[in-house]
């Protein structure tokens, strides 16, 4: 039992060596930055390319990043960025995809079609930041009182 886990972990580390090259090939023609760190791989891309890249990362047999762990949203100088933490359930390799939304916009395509786990995470982000996820209507609030649209985590004033 332990050997299996250890072999899987070692397999993940070995696969990481070749992963950077594979991931770089996935988003053909897109402006994507790939950076391999000690514990994870960071990808930075434009919010409009997110769905294409995620589809390829999930469906590619050699990669199969199929477990969405977390979506993090934050605001930097008024612009929104979303970080998608994704694992491969085969190697448990971590991928951190940072999608930067174009300045002045607060809308991005929903990833619930690719990762159903995103439903709760996107709903929370919509409530707290007012990000509009195209393709899904988040009407009922999860944490705030029903109908509250004040988006308490937004920082539009202090930049």
């Amino acid at each position: 039992m332990i050997e299996n886990i250890e072999q899987l972990y070692l397999k993940g580390i070995l696969a990481k060596v070749l992963l950077e090259e594979k991931i770089s090939k996935v988003p053909s023609g897109r402006k994507v930055e790939v950076k391999v760190l000690e514990k994870r791989i960071d990808i930075k891309l434009d919010g409009r390319d997110l769905i294409d890249v995620l589809m390829k990362l999930r469906e590619s047999e050699k990669l199969s990043f199929d477990f969405l762990d977390c979506i993090i949203c934050y605001q930097e100088k008024g612009n929104f960025s979303l970080i998608y933490q994704i694992y491969s359930t085969e190697t448990w390799q971590t991928l951190s995809i940072k999608a930067v939304l174009p300045p002045g916009t607060s809308s991005i395509e929903s990833v619930t079609g690719i990762y159903p786990a995103a439903f709760l995470m996107e709903q929370e982000i919509f409530e707290l930041y007012g990000i509009n996820f195209e393709g899904v209507n988040y009407n009922a609030n999860l944490f705030l009182p029903q109908g509250d649209r004040n988006f308490p985590m937004r920082r539009d004033t202090d930049g």
Partner: protein
């Protein structure tokens, strides 16, 4: 149009095993649940927003409030994130004591869960036995940290105090006592056909479905997926420890019970190993936490008793974070309740909800 024999029930306080308020609206036809809608957010703390006004030395206190049954997990996750971002090296002894605290918290949390679960199933004797042992486990957290629930003990750079040799001996005595108690629980519950009748094949979750919705921790392992953050992304020296990851097969209430009981035994073994070979040295290096002179963006995750607890921190040349995000496992468990409850009998709802070990303090963070 009113349907015949259909009743809508609002369950809130009758559900055992929950630490805070939670509403479950179920639609019952005859004796079978047809639809279910969980509602959360009744005790939301606004913890992520509060963090945006706190300096690094205050943050472990806040992080210990994330999980009400294992406060140390949040502290360790925050400390690991900051240490990783600032490339701080923590002394070996500090890491060993962190592991001791996390494992004893896991034992206390699982025993607390066991008491509530056995109450939900209707075994009051086991409730008292589990509470008694949980209190003994919490007593050791109190001896070490001064607090039973939210220790505020683990800080970036190490821990706030050392473990004394006489406490180590008392600790080992407690673990021997606990090992003697585990067959008692087996006798009362695992080998009891009345208990098995109430938990076998109840509230089943498919492994693929659990993975699709992002379930982690003992609830996922009960479905047969051998996923543990301590193995797949080790932290605090877990890579040097030898322990097993218990898994279930069917993903029902019994497997969730069985996985947690086995985890108590594994945690006990980890503790015995680490307490017998405690490394020497300092427990705290006074670190230079210069968060105001650089940009920091880091995500760290630990295996808390309920699953994967992730903390994201972002500092933008200020002493306070611009973003503090917590990924909690119990929120996913709440979203999976619907699949587990539908088509089950209404009398089993309490058992199923309790079997997921939902920590509402985490959900309403």
């Amino acid at each position: 149009m009113v349907e015949r024999n259909v009743v809508v029930l609002n369950l809130a306080s009758p559900l055992p095993g929950l630490d805070r308020y939670f509403r479950l609206k179920i639609k019952v036809k005859g004796e079978v649940v047809e639809d279910c809608k969980p509602e959360v957010g009744f005790s939301h703390k606004g913890l992520e927003k509060t963090a945006e006004s706190m300096i690094p030395i205050q943050m472990p206190f806040l992080a210990s409030k994330i999980d009400s049954s294992s406060g140390i997990s949040g502290e360790v996750a925050y400390s690991i994130a900051l240490e990783s971002a600032l490339s701080l090296k923590v002394p070996e002894r500090a890491n060993a004591i962190r592991v001791v605290l996390m494992e004893i918290s896991r034992i206390a949390s699982h025993l607390g869960w066991l008491s509530n679960f056995s109450l939900a199933v209707g075994f009051v004797t086991c409730y008292h036995y589990a509470q008694r042992d949980k209190e003994r486990a919490l007593r050791f957290i109190e001896i070490l940290t001064g607090s039973r629930i939210s220790p505020n003990f683990c800080v970036p750079g190490g821990i706030k105090g050392d473990i004394k040799s006489n406490v180590i001996f008392e600790f080992l005595d407690f673990l021997t006592y606990l090992d003697g108690r585990m067959p008692e629980f087996d006798l009362l519950l695992t080998d009891n056909k009345f208990f098995r009748g109430k938990v076998d094949n109840i509230g089943r979750i498919q492994r693929e479905h659990a993975l699709t919705l992002g379930l982690t921790g003992p609830n996922l392992r009960a479905c047969g997926e051998r996923m543990d953050i301590r193995k797949i992304a080790p932290y605090c020296g877990y890579e040097n420890l030898n322990f097993k990851v218990p898994v279930g097969r069917r993903g029902d209430c019994f497997d969730r019970y069985q996985v947690r009981m086995k985890e108590i035994r594994e945690s006990s073994d980890i503790l015995k190993g680490i307490l017998s070979n405690m490394p020497d040295g300092d427990v705290y290096i006074k670190p230079l936490i210069d968060v105001h002179s650089r940009k920091i963006e880091e995500y760290a995750r630990v295996e808390c008793p309920h699953g994967e607890l992730g903390i994201f921190i972002k500092y933008d040349l200020k002493e306070v974070p611009t973003r503090f995000k917590v990924r909690t496992p119990s929120l996913v468990s709440v979203s999976l309740l619907r699949d587990a409850i539908i088509n089950q009998r209404v009398s089993d709802v309490g058992v199923i909800v309790s079997s997921f070990d939902i920590c509402l303090s985490e959900v309403d963070r």
